[in-house]
């Protein structure tokens, strides 16, 4: 952070505010494509760049000042109708926006961004002077990822804004029109301009950081992406919420005083009914207050999901344009609130789903017309709170998924055998896309299907204790639903006992609880199973999964369901359900253990990570001999 000595805090403020501003600009740009003459929109966008420029000037971020200034000039011409907004002009604008966002990313890491790629600056100049942008820029925006951007022929027509500003500041009344100033670049040329992939339009910074790291040296910093890399360390909180926390902690303090007094009384032997009733009251009040405090603290971490959603219309628009599709992404429920860390971790999966919907979900305009649909396809991204969960849905009106095609594909790829494939019903077929290595398109397009697949999306959602489901009707569209807990801070668990020790399993995975009737255990290919409502489920003992010797025959089974598989976890007995706060274990990380928590009586309870436990190699994988489970 050395480049901004003493200004880090200011820089953080600037970045947070400017990022929001830029996202707003991005969305207004998408709007602008529909209403290109809208003066209010043009004015707003102009002001956006203007404001960012102003802030960047104070932070001495010269490249950003230069870039914003030119873009701002462009909008000045647009709003004065001196310039027509053609798709080519729009591409240049969008590229400039993406570059500014990249610079935010660099600044976020405490580094000074490198100079803007000269091709972009020349393209802006060309547009400003009424010419079309030169071919390099146009070609660059049309194709997804050309690694090499040709260097611009000349850089000599660039005014040096730094010098200009100095001149203006020291003699403010001089008022030289900036464009007329002769200019020489005082700074050195960047070393490897041509080798840098400054191709933000095809690979918007937030979506594909991986392929933007090829550059070296001075320009390296400029290729680091914004948003997705690194989490924001600051948070904006409504002061009302903070006051609530303060209030509650004050109340808790008072209740603690009450308890201390009562303790003294009781220690002095004063334990009549009144004292004990007061104790009861104080404790139940404390219970209430602590619950409220947890809620209030949780609320301070809640952020509207709109901050995430607002990036996507632009993403969908860029992608649709590349693919020659007409797509409208409609958002709703942006005000729905979610834990801050979850919002950040949701970005990658959602980006993937939006890209998928545009690339695979909806048809090309021609196909849609042939199918008698509206030429423009509609993708809806919605969020709402349902009970104690947040439901996020992405719905398209595209071609839907064909169960047979999915089945065939999975077999072709060798992911499952034909027999297993034929046994799957339509709903189960849809689940096939979550298998690692599954991609429905024969040709992996440059757009989606690059590296990460739906299996990664699902893994990421599961890490957030969430679930993902698919509904699809061939010809009508696909809906992907993600269900997430409100927060990760408090985890509802089921506490069970095995080997005389309590363990907590996440309640989200528990489908039901059954008693294990030894008669009902059947052996299928050497493994114990139980049939529950026509479903053959493998039986695994918790002791076995842990690699411990069982101390008694398990009496109960917990029907666990993860996206991967369902099985019955055999345990000795139950303790109950509880809301716990997971404390990570320091220094040690036993396989299958997510962390520890304290039970009501003060004893330590291990919280199990079932997925991890199931893949553990140390134990016996929970496989036990049927004979061990049945009393002979």
């Amino acid at each position: 952070m050395s480049e901004f000595g003493g200004m880090e805090e200011l820089l953080q403020d600037f970045l947070m505010e400017s990022n929001d501003l830029l996202s707003d600009v991005d969305n207004k740009l998408v709007e602008l494509e529909k209403r290109s003459e809208d003066r209010a929109l043009l004015n707003d966008i102009f002001r956006g760049f203007h404001t960012i420029k102003g802030g960047a000037g104070f932070l001495n971020v010269a490249p950003m000042v230069t870039l914003c200034h030119r873009t701002e000039n462009l909008f000045d011409k647009l709003r004065n109708a001196e310039l027509q907004l053609t798709p080519e002009v729009m591409d240049v604008i969008l590229e400039a926006t993406a570059t500014v966002r990249d610079m935010f990313g660099t600044l976020g890491q405490g580094l000074m961004p490198g100079d803007t790629d000269s091709a972009l600056l020349s393209a802006l100049d060309a547009v400003l002077s009424g010419r079309m942008p030169p071919p390099p820029a146009a070609a660059q925006t049309a194709k997804p990822a050309p690694p090499v951007v040709p260097a611009a022929p000349s850089r000599s027509n660039e005014p040096d804004w730094n010098t200009l500003y100095q001149a203006v500041v020291s003699a403010a009344s001089a008022g030289t029109p900036p464009a007329a100033a002769p200019a020489h670049r005082l700074t050195e040329e960047p070393v490897v301009v041509a080798a840098v992939d400054t191709n933000p339009i095809a690979t918007p910074a937030v979506t594909a950081p991986a392929n933007r790291t090829a550059a070296a040296g001075k320009t390296m910093s400029a290729t680091k992406s914004a948003g997705s890399s690194g989490h924001e360390n600051t948070i904006r909180i409504d002061t009302n919420r903070l006051d609530m926390v303060l209030n509650l902690s004050g109340e808790i303090g008072l209740t603690k005083n009450r308890l201390t007094t009562l303790r003294t009384e009781i220690l002095q032997g004063n334990n009549d009914t009144n004292t004990l009733r007061s104790l009861d009251e104080a404790i139940s009040q404390l219970d209430l207050l602590v619950g409220d405090l947890q809620n209030a603290v949780m609320k301070t971490r809640m952020q509207p999901i709109g901050r995430l959603f607002q990036k996507y219309p632009r993403l969908a628009r860029d992608l649709a344009r590349q693919l020659g599709k007409e797509v409208e992404l409609v958002l709703s429920g942006e005000e729905t609130e979610l834990d801050k860390t979850m919002i950040e971790d949701l970005n990658d999966p959602l980006v993937h789903l939006v890209r998928n919907a545009v690339d695979h979900g909806v048809e090309s305009t021609a196909e849609r017309i042939a199918a008698g649909k509206k030429p423009q396809s509609l993708i809806q991204l919605t969020a709402e709170q349902v009970g104690d969960h947040i439901l996020i849905e992405i719905t398209d009106d595209g071609r839907g998924m064909n169960a047979d095609a999915l089945r065939r594909k999975a077999v072709e790829k060798g992911l499952i055998d034909a027999e297993a494939a034929n046994a799957l019903d339509e709903k189960q077929c849809l689940q096939l896309i979550f298998l690692p290595g599954f991609s429905t398109k024969d040709q992996i397009s440059s757009v989606s299907g690059r590296g990460v697949g739906m299996d990664v999306v699902r893994t990421n959602i599961q890490k957030l204790n969430g679930r993902i489901d698919i509904h699809s009707i061939p010809g009508e569209g696909t809906r992907i639903s993600i269900s997430l807990p409100l927060t990760l801070a408090i985890l509802p668990v089921l506490v069970v006992r095995a080997c005389n020790q309590p363990f907590a399993v996440p309640l989200a995975m528990v489908r039901e609880i059954i008693t294990i009737d030894p008669e009902a255990i059947q052996e299928v290919s050497g493994n114990p199973t139980i049939v529950v409502r026509d479903e053959i489920l493998p039986l695994k003992t918790l002791a076995g999964l842990l690699g411990w010797a069982p101390t008694q025959k398990p009496g109960f089974g917990v029907l666990m369901q993860s996206a991967e598989r369902s099985f019955i976890l055999a345990i000795d007995s139950f303790v109950g359900r509880d809301d716990v706060v997971i404390k990570p274990l320091q220094n040690i990380r036993p396989k299958g253990v997510a962390g520890a928590t304290l039970s009501g009586d003060g004893s330590v309870v291990l919280v199990l990570d079932m997925e991890d436990l199931l893949t553990a190699k140390g134990g016996m994988g929970g496989v036990v001999k049927t004979s061990e489970l049945i009393t002979l």
Binding site: D44, K53, V169, G175
Partner: protein, 129 residues
Amino acid sequence: MTDKNLRFLVVDDFSTMRRIVRNLLKELGFTNVDEAEDGQVALHKLKTQHFDFIVSDWNMPNMTGIELLKAVRADQQLKPLPFLMITAEAKRENIIEAAMAGASGYIVKPFTAATLEEKLNKIFQAIHK
């Protein structure tokens, strides 16, 4: 020499910028500063509270700096208030427009505390003459 208790109103729609200006004023010893996020809010504050000095950005939504300036000069009560206009533009026509509307001074972004002090001092001198 100047009264460090002068009450400033900093008007800008970008909160980072308000903070920058506030910090610069603080550097110069002026700690009595309030903020407004656009011309309308500023005008409301000016009419309901006492201020000695206005530092305003030009380009803002709802009510721009120049509109605020005109409104201030048109108000019998607020009329004499010193008004420093901040802008990113150094175009001659802008400066003339601000001067004609009655700006006491004009400062171009980005500026340092020293530049700000110089501008403020010029305005103070003009008042005390």
